[in-house]
């Protein structure tokens, strides 16, 4: 069953004439991992807000069409009820700290307290998530006395620990070190394998290509591509809409022009395919 069903969604922020999202329709199955890509201002964050009810409940503005999340119509369901099924990690980690707690450990517990999780159950859940996001060492630090990347890890852990049915992530690895970024993708991938549905806005195309089931590309608030990574990420539309492509795709395309890449072979989006293609031709 589709956990997300969007029909003709159009959304305007208050006092704007250009819609931030324009006539979007798509569905997402339970357990799917969908990446959303797009240039700056394409509408990625806005889509994240619309999927979790922050648009229109928090940002107000004008919404038409319908967004169904786990059967709930976001427009007619209060935000506090939506938050029980959908979790959102915001783009900017600095302002996701609750201000109610004074150590990283308590900060991560905060969501669980609000959900009414029994204390005995909290600790194992928190410990596990802290290990997965690599923040075990700062459990007792103030969430404010951290580096940018460490803060982003805390923001991520704070939502992950709540185990929402639908997890929406807005550029959750933007400040993470390279291996940290890949590990986050791996963690999210594993969680979606266990049934969590994931929507993630991202610029890091190599990891999108490696881990996502499906990619939706946005431009000016509209969906321009929606399909498997290998297909979407090799589309010429990506360059046209300032989204870019992986270095593997770039280099294979140029190599193809010089007869250094097999002419009939699809362009690669991940390192394994790139390696296989170049190897095939070396012989």
């Amino acid at each position: 069953m589709a956990i997300i069903a969007i029909q003709n969604l159009t959304y305007h922020y208050p006092q704007t004439t250009q819609p931030a999202l324009q006539d979007l329709s798509f569905q997402v199955e339970e357990g799917e991992f969908v990446a959303v890509i797009g240039a700056n201002g394409a509408g990625k964050s806005t889509l994240c807000y619309a999927l979790t009810g922050f648009a229109p409940h928090f940002f107000r503005g004008e919404m038409s069409g319908q967004v169904l999340v786990a059967g709930l119509d976001t427009r007619h369901t209060p935000l506090e009820e939506l938050m029980l099924v959908a979790g959102l990690v915001f783009q900017n980690p600095g302002n996701q700290i609750s201000g109610a707690k004074f150590t990283v450990y308590e900060e991560i517990a905060f969501g669980l307290e609000n959900l009414g999780v029994p204390p005995a159950e909290m600790r194992p859940r928190i410990d596990r998530i802290m290990a997965l996001t690599g923040i075990t060492d700062f459990a007792n630090r103030s969430p404010y006395a951290l580096s940018g990347g460490q803060q982003q890890r805390v923001a991520l852990a704070s939502i992950l620990v709540m185990e929402p049915k639908l997890l929406v992530l807005d550029e959750p690895t933007s400040q993470l070190d390279p291996i940290g970024s890949r590990e986050v993708f791996e963690t999210i991938r594993a969680m979606s394998k266990q049934g969590m549905t994931v929507i993630m806005a991202e610029h890091k195309l190599e990891w999108v290509a490696t881990f996502a089931d499906r990619v939706i590309a946005l431009a000016n608030g509209e969906i321009i591509l929606n399909g498997p990574p290998a297909e979407v990420l090799t589309s010429p539309l990506l360059i046209e809409h300032h989204i870019g492509q992986t270095r593997y795709t770039t280099v294979a395309k140029q190599a193809q022009a010089e007869q250094l890449w097999p002419p009939e072979r699809a362009l690669p989006v991940v390192i394994d395919e790139a390696e296989a293609g170049f190897r095939a031709y070396k012989k």
Partner: protein, 259 residues
């Protein structure tokens, strides 16, 4: 990046371990008695004989004294100058120079006001320095106070460190772009003015961001909240709290209906 958002000092002491409500009761009864209780020396006595020993019991004596003095000294000086010179209806002249005369009544009034303020500031600081705000929040929520209300209370308690952090952030941004904030008094005052706007505006932005952060963590969910930490309380402490309420009422009573 701000380090810390609370004044709380982590020390292992019996005061630190008291239930936050008990400390809240101590602080408020001291403040009320100090202001409304009888006697000229009462506030002074409360400060010296109650607050200072309590702070030593909490192993935060030096910090307590230092902060109280730092907050109260400028205020006290101002009071003494203004009141001793300009207290209306003062007759007993102690000292005179040029067109000014220092009057006993004024000095007395200034002393009374200053010690009461000192008692109040001290009582607040004792609470803030010895109580982890999240313990207070957890405890009040457990007692059935609405979470939003306790959140507001706790944020209010944090307002000073929060403003200080925000101010430091802005000052860093300003000096990084060439605004002199050190040196002469003139430079300092000059640096203060451009701070006011961003401080107020920045705080407004923060409030909105906080609201989002809280929503995302299901703060408003209609569920019975649980809590990670267990805040201990005891029958003894409850008795003490009741005792404090009675004592406060009695003291105020004595002042209002003098025998």
């Amino acid at each position: 990046m701000p380090d810390n958002l609370s004044l709380y000092i982590e020390r292992d002491s019996p005061l630190q371990r008291l239930n936050p409500l008990t400390k809240l009761a101590i602080s408020f009864s001291l403040i009320l008695i100090g202001f409304l209780g009888p006697g000229y020396w009462l506030a002074t006595l409360l400060f010296i004989c109650v607050l200072v020993p309590l702070s030593i019991w909490g192993k935060i004596g030096p910090e307590f004294l230092q902060r109280t003095v730092r907050l109260i000294l400028p205020l006290a000086l101002f009071l003494f100058v203004m009141q001793s010179l300009f207290y209306p209806g003062g007759r007993t002249v102690l000292w005179r120079f040029w067109i000014f005369s220092v009057k006993l009544e004024g000095v007395q009034f200034a002393y009374l006001t200053a010690t009461r303020l000192m008692n109040m500031v001290g009582a607040f600081l004792l609470l803030l320095l010895s109580t982890h705000p999240s313990t207070l929040m957890t405890d009040l929520t457990r007692r059935g106070v609405s979470p939003s209300l306790t959140y507001i209370l706790v944020s209010t308690l944090q307002i000073i460190p929060q403003m200080r952090n925000k101010a430091n952030t802005i000052i860093d941004a300003q000096r990084s772009r060439g605004l002199e904030t050190q040196g002469s008094v003139r430079a300092r005052i000059g640096a203060l003015l451009p701070l006011v706007g961003p401080l107020v505006f920045g705080s407004l932005v923060d409030v909105e961001e906080r609201a989002i952060a809280l929503e995302a963590r299901a703060f408003k969910a209609k569920r019975v909240k649980t809590s990670l930490i267990h805040v201990p309380d005891s029958v003894r402490q409850r008795q003490v709290r009741i005792g404090l309420v009675v004592l406060t009422l009695v003291m105020i009573g004595i002042r209002l209906w003098p025998l």
